[in-house]
């Protein structure tokens, strides 16, 4: 019992902070600064709890799992939640401000719980705890019709996907007899049709979270309509948590039924499903982003495309691919959070987030424009920024077994296409002249945070080992295996993939 409390201490601290914020909001409604300060102090206390009291635990047969990897992701999620809180403090509507911060904190708690579990029931619970506050946050701006539309669409589509997910997870439970991923991974024999149905439904439910085609229809409207700080949290935090738990579910729990997705070498399993979704997302996301005129919508289609890149990394079902995906999702979350932060400040200053509202940003706010440059160039995958390293690692690991050349070709081609629309936004910011009447941006904390995020993206691009090495630390419990394997329960690659070498065109070519 006490170990349960100790293991969940960071989440408990955040919940207490959220309740304090609610209390403050009721007693002193107008005082935004003390409320934000309370939230931030709570967040830092939770971070301190994670850092100063590292604990390895596996409680209740996988319901609460703590190991170095989970701690890294909890810290990242916590950081993203606090970033969203800072952006919200300077850009959210004034009414019910404390409630919005509390919702952000509750959602962050849900994401942190997602990062620390290996049990189906807990996965669903944490996922719902993440999503429901986000539904409310998306609809928070009561004076905006598009915000109401965003909230409604997010809620309806999200609930239906959650229903699909639950049904899939329950089918998997029915076949396995237990909700823990460990027990599921130990199933033997040919896959039950019920199990296959369960896997497909579960992947569909998660694909909604990751905004992959064909479950991506909510993303553009929600990203555009929601208040920008909420969109920042949706784009960064829930994506990190969703990708992490999807990766864990597929590789830890369902690793044996991966199948293969090579051209002409399809084997049934979840990897071909992911490969097809990845290809469709990459193409659709990038091509549709070319014609957007609202930067938030453009970022939404870019998020769809990046969901595709992440699924591409998961297809290879290898430890290298897993590391690449986890590395890239963190990089992407930092970059997107920063990009939305810039959009939030510009929206406050210019009254909108259309392309024209970015005109002359380099003249009016040079630091902000430079940060925008860093974020968008990182999203486009140009060195020396972290986005390039991440994408390079993803593509390399996907090609390592020689199987996904077709998918990597599509991804590299679409990546080149994506530079066009990122450059269009940067053109408005750097090349076009500024309008004459501009208020100064009154958002110092957001600007400082955006600059810090840009610096982080640059530093991680020049020294990616800062993040890569912690992600790849071999688990002590696995003995002397030097293969990078991330956390407990991450699989060895299936035997038919482990020894295959790249041999395009010449079967059986000798080495």
């Amino acid at each position: 019992m006490t170990s349960l409390v100790h293991s969940l201490m960071p989440e408990a601290i955040l919940v207490v902070a959220a309740l304090l914020v609610l209390g403050l909001g009721v007693s002193w409604p107008g005082a935004r600064t003390p409320i934000t300060a309370t939230a931030l102090i709570g967040g830092f206390a939770a971070a301190a709890a994670i850092l100063l009291f590292p604990l390895d635990a596996n409680l209740l047969d996988g319901m609460v799992v703590l190991n170095p990897l989970a701690r890294i992701f909890k810290l990242v999620i916590l950081g993203l939640g606090l970033a969203a809180a800072v952006f919200a403090s300077e850009s959210f509507p004034k009414n019910h401000f404390a409630e919005s911060l509390a919702l952000i904190l509750f959602s962050t708690v849900g994401m942190m719980l997602l990062a620390g579990t290996e049990d189906l029931l807990m996965i669903f619970l944490a996922l719902e705890l993440t999503s429901i506050p986000l539904y409310a946050l998306a609809a928070f701006d009561k004076e905006s019709r598009s915000s109401a539309e965003a909230g409604m669409k997010y809620f309806l589509i999200g609930s239906v996907s959650a229903a699909f997910l639950l049904y899939g997870l329950s089918l998997i439970y029915g076949v396995a007899g237990s909700t823990s991923l460990r027990a599921i991974s130990q199933l033997s024999g040919p896959p039950d049709p019920l199990l296959i149905a369960g896997i497909v439904l579960a992947v569909a439910g998660f694909a909604f979270k990751v905004a992959a085609v064909p479950f991506q229809l909510w993303a553009p409207d929600v990203y555009e309509g929601a208040p920008t700080a909420a969109a920042a949290l949706i784009a960064s935090g829930s994506k990190v948590a969703g990708v992490f738990i999807l990766a864990k579910l597929l590789t830890s729990g369902l690793g044996q039924w991966a199948g293969a997705a090579g051209w002409g070498e399809f084997q049934a399993g979840w990897a071909p499903v992911l490969a097809l979704m990845a290809a469709a997302s990459i193409v659709l996301g990038n091509v549709t982003a070319l014609v957007q005129s609202n930067v938030k919508r453009l970022l939404a289609y870019s998020a769809i495309a990046h969901g595709g890149y992440l699924l591409l990394g998961l297809c290879s079902a290898s430890a290298d691919g897993l590391t690449a995906v986890l590395f890239y999702v963190v990089i992407y979350a930092l970059t997107t959070a920063g990009a939305f932060g810039v959009v939030a400040v510009v929206e406050k200053q210019r009254g909108g987030a259309r392309l024209d509202d970015f005109d002359g940003l380099a003249k009016s706010s040079p630091v902000l424009a430079l940060c925008l440059l860093v974020f968008f160039i990182s999203l486009a995958g140009i060195p020396p920024l972290a986005g390039f390293i991440g994408k390079f690692y993803l593509f390399t690991s996907a090609l390592a077994n020689g199987q996904h050349l077709w998918l990597v070709v599509v991804a590299v081609a679409m990546n080149a296409v994506s530079l066009y629309y990122y450059l269009i936004v940067l053109k408005h910011a750097f090349v076009l002249p500024a309008p004459d009447d501009i208020r100064p941006a009154d958002a110092p904390a957001s600007q400082a945070l955006v600059a810090a995020l840009a610096l982080a993206v640059l530093v991680l691009g020049l020294a990616p080992n800062l993040l890569l090495v912690p992600l790849m630390k071999p688990d002590a419990g696995k003995g002397a295996r030097s293969m990078p394997c991330c956390a407990r329960g991450m699989i060895d690659p299936p035997p038919h993939l482990a020894t295959k070498r790249f041999s395009a065109g010449a079967p059986g070519a000798g080495y």
Partner: protein
């Protein structure tokens, strides 16, 4: 062949059987109680008082908040019941855990109260 005959007869009776009372009701209404509307007969019933104003009042969506809060506390009660029935066999830590649960919900109620949600507008 005979089984299909049986089914056909059964189907016919199944269709006819409910029609008989309907037909009887129609015949009775036609012959013994033809409709004779009148002012007092058509007015809406409001516990004996004369009704004033139109009957179509806009439904207040504010009702849903009460329904929501009711639902939350009803589910809390559902969780309390197994705890109560096993209360004597549970350690102190279980009591603490449930107290935390109840305090969380209590704070929700306090928040709702302070925000003025429970007051009818």
């Amino acid at each position: 062949m005979s089984s299909y005959l049986l089914l056909t007869v059964f189907l016919a009776i199944a269709i006819v059987f409910p029609l008989i009372p309907l037909a009887m009701a129609w015949a009775w209404a036609r012959l013994f109680s033809p409709p004779k509307p009148g002012n007092d007969k058509q007015s809406s019933y409001e516990c004996g008082i004369e009704s004033a104003g139109p009957a179509h009042v806009q439904f207040q969506s504010h009702y849903y908040l009460y329904a929501l809060i009711f639902l939350v506390f009803d589910v809390e009660t559902v969780f309390l019941m197994p705890f109560a029935s096993a209360f004597l066999h549970l350690p102190f830590s279980a009591f603490l855990a449930l107290m935390v649960f109840m305090l969380l919900l209590l704070e929700g109620l306090v928040w709702a109260w302070a925000k003025g949600i429970l007051a009818w507008k």
